[in-house]
Assembly symmetry: C2
Homo-oligomer: 129 residues x 2
DNA sequence: TATGTGTATTATATTATCTAGTACACCTAT
DNA sequence: ATAGGTGTACTAGATAATATAATACACATA
């Protein structure tokens, strides 16, 4: 369900956060569905429970999950809500990257070609599902 | 000449590296031109000389500068060489970002609009030089 | 010779990350 | 009521990356 890359410079708890967001946005985890408990996920990933706890706390702070004492942690954000937020964030990243591309005098056409090619490649990959 | 953002999560030595690359790519620093000495830059930025040294060592490792004992550090990469390398790196970033955009189902048209707007905005800003 | 270079070394401080262990309050099924 | 599973809080320690501090040495040049 969740994969951790220990070689990455990205902290484990951030990888868990991103992973859960992906699961929600991809529709695997749905609103009000229960997440694995802190201890369970810690055991499955062979990671300290405190690290999972840190990820869950941050997810709750962002309003993406909610926790009930004695019950568990649950998805608090709908697929559409989270998708909208993340789309906005990605477009902001794209704007920053575009500014860098401009500064380095990369032709607009070259940038566009890359985007197009990736989109078409992804579409092809999807055709095999 | 160089600005450091102490609030940034990016380490100071990395900021120095990026800053010097920008100065080369923008044509401010030219091939074989001498960089500020380790001690001089350390004093100007009120930063420990070892931190500057770390940045310079990395720049030399990347082939962007070269150092001569007793002489100083100099630009070893031409504007065109470095620009080409960095353009390639940026386009790779763009490819990764495009894949994320696709996964989040951002319409290709929306992405394209952002890129276009940034390019036009930058062009306008430049007109005031 | 004096000064300014790059470079190397050792030590310390700080911060972020992660682990370890323990404890408590709460919920629920038995 | 009890047991077991929840979230949560707390203290402590290990480790790595980053940055500072203080010296020292070799080399180049005016």
């Amino acid at each position: 369900m969740i994969l951790i890359d220990y070689k990455s410079r990205k902290p484990i708890y951030e990888q868990i956060i991103d992973n859960i967001k992906s699961l929600i946005v991809s529709g695997v985890l749905k609103r009000d569905e229960q997440l694995p408990s802190v201890r369970q996920m810690a055991q499955e990933l062979a990671i300290n429970p405190n690290t999972i706890q840190k990820a869950y706390t941050e997810l709750e702070r962002e309003g993406i999950t909610y926790s009930l004492k004695g019950r568990g942690s649950f998805v608090g954000s709908s697929l559409q809500e989270l998708r909208t937020v993340q789309q906005k964030a990605l477009l902001e990243q794209l704007a920053e990257l575009s500014a860098d591309l401009y500064r380095l005098q990369v032709p607009q056409q070259d940038a566009w070609t890359v985007v197009q090619q990736v989109y078409e490649q992804q579409k092809e990959d999807e055709a095999y599902d």
